[in-house]
Amino acid sequence: MAVSETVAATSPTATTPTPRKPRRAPRGRNAAYWLYLLPGAVLFVLVIGAPLVGTVYLSLTKWSGIGDPTFVGFDNYQRLLHDDVFWASFRNTVAMIVAMVVVPTVLGLLLASVLFDVIGRRFKPRTAAALRAAFYLPQVLPVVVAGIVWGWILRPDGAFNSLLDAVGLGALRHDWLGDPGTALPAVMAVMIWVQIGYPVVVFMAALQRVDPELYEAAEVDGANWLHRFRAITLPQIRPETFVVALTCTIAALKVFGPIFALTRGGPENATNVPSYFAYYTFFKKLQVGYGSAISTVLTLIIVVVAVVFIWMQARSERRNRGF
C-alpha cells in the first residue's frame, strides 16, 4: 500500500485543495458532469456505502449469518466493554503503532537523511539508490508471504535459533512466536522490517525538493550533520512526515495479514489485534453481530485518528505560514 501515498505526499496539490470556489460557470453547464460521476457513485454505494451501513446495523443485532438477525440494541457494545480480548487487542494496536509508525518514522528520517545528505553526496548517488532499494524491498512483497517466511525463521527449529547457535548464543534459543512473553516483540520486529522502507523512500523523495543550496550554505557556515538535520531536514519535510505518520497509523490500526500469517493472534491473544479479532469473530465463531461491533469501533477510531491528524496538519501549516 505504501508507495501510493508517495504520490499524494510529493504532489503539493494533493494536500492543499484550493480554498477558493470559482463559480463562474452557470449551474446548468456543470450539471452535465454529474453523469460522469454516476457509475462511480453507484459502485461506491453498492460496495462501500451500503455494506458500511449494513455492518453498523448488524452491530446492533445478534446473528449467526443464517436466518434473520435479532435486534438487541447496544448489547454487543456492552459486551465489548467487559471483554478482555477486546482490550488486549487494542493494547496490541498500541504496540503495532510503535512498530509501524514511531520506530519506522524516526529510523526513516535518520536513514533518509544519512542516505541523501552523507552517502548520496559523499559517495555515488547510485550507492544511496542501491541501499534505499534494500530497505524498500519488503514493501513490494505480498505481506502475507513475507509473514510466512518470518514465521518459519522464528520457529523453534527455524533459522533464527540456528543463527543464535552459530554465534555461540545458543542459550537464548527460544520459541519466539509461541511464548506469550516474546510473541508480541517478535511480531513488532517483523513489522519494523516490513514498514521501514516506506518512510525512507518518501523522505528521500521529499529531500529532493529541498534546495541543495540550503545544505551547501549551512555547510560553509560550519554546520555539522546534526545541525543540518535539525535546522533544514526536519522542518523542510514536515508535510511528508505528517503524511507518513497518518498513513502508517491507519495501516497499524488495520493490520491483518502479518498477524494472520505469523500467529493468528496467539498465543493466548498475546498478538491479537482488532481486525484479526473481528475476522475471527465473523468467520470462526459465527458471531456476526459481535464482529460487526468490533469493526464499527475500529472504523470510528480510524475516522477520529484521520480527522485529528488532518486537523493538526492544517493547523501546523497555518502556523508555519504565519512566520
Partner: protein, 293 residues
C-alpha cells in the same frame, strides 16, 4: 534528479583536522547503513538457502547448512500441488482488471469533481478519501453475505468489482486534486472548437494525464496483487484463489515441510520482485513528475 554531483565546496577557513575527521566518519556511516541494508536482506538469503534443500538435508544440517545437492523437488511439488500457473493467472486477471477498471472509474469521477467542479465536490472528495481509510472488516460481512445471495461468492468477478471501487476511492481523491489545477485555457480552447465533454475528456484531459494514470495503474495492480483479507474470505477453492491466499491456506499443511514452504514463498515473491524491477523507473518518474507539478 536534484542530487548534485558537484563536489562539496571545501571551505578555506575550516581546520584540517575536522576535514580529516569527516573523511573517516563518512565511511563509518556507510558501513553502518550497509550493515543495516544487509540485515534487511537476511530473510531473503535464508529463504533462498532453504528453498533448494532436500528435507533430509534440512533435518540433518538445519536451516543454515549449505545444501549438498541442488534440490528442486520442493519447488516442483509446490508448483503442481497448488497448480501455480492457475494461481498466477487468477492473480494477474484480478489485479490487471482492477488496475484498468479502477483507473477508468477514477478518471470519470475526477473529471466530474476536478474539472466539472460539481456542487459539494469537496465533501465528495473527502468521502472518497475516508472510504480509502476504512478497515475492510467494516465491509466484509455484508459483501460476503450479498455475494453468496447473488451467486458471486467464490468468483474472481466479485473480488474485481470490490477492489475496483476500493482502489478508485484513492484514485478519485488523487486525480481530483491533480485535475483541480488543470489549465483552463486548454479546456476553453477545446470548447471553442466545439468539442463536447466526452471529447474533451479523451482528447484533452486523458493525454495530459497519461503519466499520472500510468503510475496509478501500476499502484492499483501491485496493491491488488498483494491484497489478502477480501480474497481470503471470497475465494475458497483452488480454481479461484490468488497467489498469497494459496500459500497462506497451505500453512500448517503436511505438504509444507520447511524446504517446500520456502520454495512456495520464493515463487510467490518472484512476480512481485519482477514488477518492482520493471516498474521502478516509471514509478520514480511518476513520483518526480508529481513533485514538480
Amino acid at each position: 534528479m536534484a542530487v548534485t554531483l558537484t563536489p562539496a565546496p571545501v571551505p578555506v577557513h575550516r581546520p584540517v583536522r575536522d576535514r580529516h575527521h569527516r573523511g573517516v566518519s563518512r565511511w563509518v556511516v556507510l558501513v553502518l547503513v550497509t550493515v543495516g541494508a544487509l540485515v534487511m536482506l537476511v530473510p531473503f538469503a535464508f529463504m533462498l538457502l532453504n528453498a533448494f534443500k532436500s528435507p533430509g538435508d534440512y533435518s540433518s544440517g538445519g536451516p543454515l547448512s549449505w545444501p549438498t545437492e541442488f534440490y528442486t523437488k520442493g519447488l516442483r511439488t509446490y508448483w503442481t500441488e497448488v497448480n501455480f500457473p492457475l494461481k498466477l493467472w487468477n492473480s494477474a486477471l484480478i489485479a490487471g482488471s482492477v488496475a484498468v477498471l479502477g483507473v477508468v472509474v477514477s478518471l470519470l469521477n475526477a473529471y466530474a469533481l476536478g474539472i466539472g467542479r460539481v456542487r459539494g465536490r469537496l465533501w465528495i472528495v473527502g468521502l472518497f478519501l475516508l472510504a480509502n481509510m476504512l478497515p475492510q472488516e467494516a465491509l466484509i460481512y455484508p459483501l460476503y453475505y450479498v455475494a453468496k445471495e447473488v451467486g458471486l461468492y467464490n468468483t474472481r468477478l466479485a473480488v474485481i468489482i470490490i477492489f475496483t471501487v476500493i482502489q478508485s476511492a484513492f484514485g478519485t481523491y488523487l486525480l481530483a486534486s491533480v485535475l483541480g489545477t488543470f489549465p483552463r485555457s486548454l479546456l476553453e480552447a477545446a470548447a471553442l472548437d466545439g468539442a463536447g465533454k466526452w471529447t474533451v475528456l479523451w482528447r484533452v484531459v486523458f493525454p495530459n494525464l497519461r503519466p499520472t494514470l500510468a503510475v496509478l495503474l501500476i499502484f492499483f495492480f501491485i496493491w491488488t496483487w498483494n491484497e489478502f483479507l477480501i480474497p481470503l474470505v471470497m475465494l475458497i477453492d483452488n480454481q479461484t484463489q490468488t497467489i498469497p491466499v494459496a500459500l497462506a491456506s497451505l500453512q500448517g499443511d503436511r505438504l509444507m515441510d520447511a524446504p517446500t514452504t520456502n520454495a512456495g514463498a520464493l515463487i510467490s515473491l518472484v512476480p512481485a520482485i519482477l514488477f518492482f524491477l520493471i516498474f521502478q523507473r516509471t514509478l520514480a518518474r511518476g513520483i518526480t513528475a508529481g513533485a514538480e507539478k
